[in-house]
């Protein structure tokens, strides 16, 4: 899946199109004119430092925030301003920053709840088994409260919860945040594996090096604006990206 056209020539292959999305926090521009084109089947990335507007952007895409202006279309349908629970049911799942698992629900209940969306309801049982196959640790802890899990396990649960809705596009917001290097590595190989299983992925990360290494196409967000974009490998060699994000002059 390396054949990604430039977003300017958005084609039929586009799964998610975001045009001119803007958002204000208390009158301050948080995101300005964000335009993305995420093709079917690939891994796209949105990178940038703290406070660049990455989370705000994906929250708008997923319907958790209402944009000031702009348009979001998913699979050819306009979903701008649609409530988040309806967007999930169209096959766009956001695994939010900070995991946000339901701490006082058991692991099993966390999964059951998300598996109840209309599009995935009939396959709920199989999906739980699939998540448990993917994360055997969660199977061991299925009756425990999610709050008692370690950070890495909570991240697995958050991703598992997203997968229960059988997404076509999975947006992961900083899945590697606060995890040990070994766990970070396993999260990135998981992203590749999910992608090979046919799920398109938008990866939002500060962990720029590893993200660009697996992303087909990436966008760089700075102070709420897209300042650069290109194929992941190419951005990795870009001097400006190197300087700003990789600590290499």
């Amino acid at each position: 899946m390396t054949s990604t056209g430039t977003p300017a020539e958005a084609s039929d292959n586009s799964l998610l199109r975001v045009e001119g999305l803007s958002y204000d926090y208390a009158g301050m521009g948080a995101v300005e004119d964000c335009t993305l084109d995420i093709p079917r089947g690939g891994i796209a990335a949105l990178i940038g430092g703290n406070g660049a507007g990455k989370s705000t952007s994906v929250k708008m895409i997923a319907g958790a925030l209402r944009p000031r202006s702009g348009r979001v279309s998913f699979d050819g349908h306009d979903i701008t301003g649609m409530p988040a629970h309806q967007i999930v049911d169209r096959g766009l799942a956001l695994v939010p920053e900070g995991r946000l698992v339901f701490q006082h629900l058991s692991v099993h209940e966390n999964l059951l709840l998300a598996g109840h969306v209309a599009r995935a309801r009939t396959a709920c049982k199989q999906n739980i088994e699939r998540v448990f196959d993917l994360f055997p640790r969660l199977r061991e802890r299925r009756q425990q409260n999610a709050g008692s899990l370690s950070g890495g396990e909570q991240q697995m649960l958050a991703i598992g919860r997203g997968l229960m809705t059988m997404p076509r596009l999975l947006i992961l917001d900083e899945p590697s945040l606060g995890l040990s290097p070994i766990l970070v590595g396993s999260i990135f190989s998981l992203v590749k594996r999910l992608n090979e299983d046919g799920i398109s992925v938008l990866l939002v990360e500060q962990n720029v090096h590893q993200t660009l290494a697996i992303a087909d196409y990436a966008y760089v967000l700075e102070k709420g604006r897209i300042v650069q974009q290109g194929e992941g490998r190419r951005l990795l060699d870009d001097p400006k990206v190197k300087e700003a994000y990789l600590g290499l002059a």
């Binding site: 958790a64 409530p83 629970h85 939010p96 946000l100 006082h104 629900l105 969306v117 809705t165």
Partner: protein
């Protein structure tokens, strides 16, 4: 010894009613983070609803719990989806305090306009019969009231623990953003939570009507009782409401019996203050855990 047992029994019965009357207040506080000062209106409206149904159609107050509950469910749902939602989305969570207080005043005055300020009570045929256990004596209505309260609380606990709806309510209380992202319609769940809470308050009102006299102004006391029950027992769970309600019932009964009936309010507030000092989360804590 006999007096002590009789007082305890009375306190338990009273406590069961307090629990049922307060559980909705507790649920709304836990799930939406709103201190609903209209809660007492739901209780007293339930009592007046049962009174009207009894006087006009001879419907037994215990059966009246169903129609009264259904009507109040609808009222609670619509109330949240309109007035409460507007207040919160346009101002803040704190605004709901002012708005619910205002609506409570409107409600109280409307009831006074309709039914007058006098005390009413519902007196079905079994009002004056009583059961005796050895030396102990208890009114049939009180046994029935306690039984009905416990059944409804148990039902609510089961729904919250075992059904998809219950899981959805708990998840929404803990993590509204993640709940929405997991496909739950949080707005609707908030409305339903309000509806269920109002329905249970109304049902408790129908029972309260046969146990004690009530006036439109009683709503203040029932809101206050609900508040104290939550402080004593903890937020959000039927079990917490039961513990808090029974504690409040016992405090009331013992104070009235051994210290003086005029001092029950003072005792209630004393315990309230102590509780806030010693265990501010209530005996069972917040069922939904997350801090608000």
């Amino acid at each position: 010894m006999f007096l002590f047992l009789q007082t305890t029994l009375n306190g338990l019965v009273l406590g069961g009613l307090y629990s049922l009357a307060a559980v909705g207040f507790s649920l709304i506080f836990g799930v939406l983070g709103i201190v609903n000062l209209t809660h007492g209106i739901f209780v007293v409206a339930g009592a007046f609803g049962a009174l009207v149904l009894y006087n006009e159609f001879g419907l037994d107050p215990l059966l009246a719990m169903l129609p009264v509950g259904i009507v109040l469910f609808a009222v609670g749902y619509i109330y949240q989806r309109t007035v409460i939602h507007w207040a919160i989305s346009r101002a803040s969570l704190v605004a709901s305090l002012v708005v619910t207080f205002g609506v409570a005043m409107i409600g109280r005055n409307l009831m006074q306009l309709t039914f007058g300020p006098d005390a009413h009570s519902i007196t079905p045929s079994y009002s004056f019969s009583s059961l005796t256990f050895g030396p102990l004596q208890i009114d049939v209505v009180r046994v029935v009231a306690l039984g009905a309260s416990l059944v409804l609380l148990l039902l609510l606990a089961l729904v919250l623990a075992k059904t998809h709806f219950g899981r959805a309510v708990r998840a929404t209380a803990q993590q509204p953003l993640a709940a929405e992202l997991s496909g739950l319609n949080v707005q609707r769940l908030h409305g339903l939570t309000f509806g269920i809470s109002a329905a249970l308050a109304g049902a408790s009102g129908a029972i309260i009507g046969i146990v004690q006299p009530f006036t439109p102004a009683s709503e203040v006391a029932w809101t206050l009782n609900a508040f104290i029950v939550v402080v004593l027992g903890g937020i959000g769970s039927p079990a917490g409401a039961l513990v808090g309600g029974i504690l409040l019932g016992l405090i009331n009964a013992y104070t009235a019996q051994y210290i003086g009936p005029s001092l029950t309010q003072a005792a209630m507030f004393l315990v309230l203050v102590l509780m806030l000092l010693l265990r501010p989360n209530g005996l069972l804590g917040n069922a939904f855990g997350e801090s608000r």
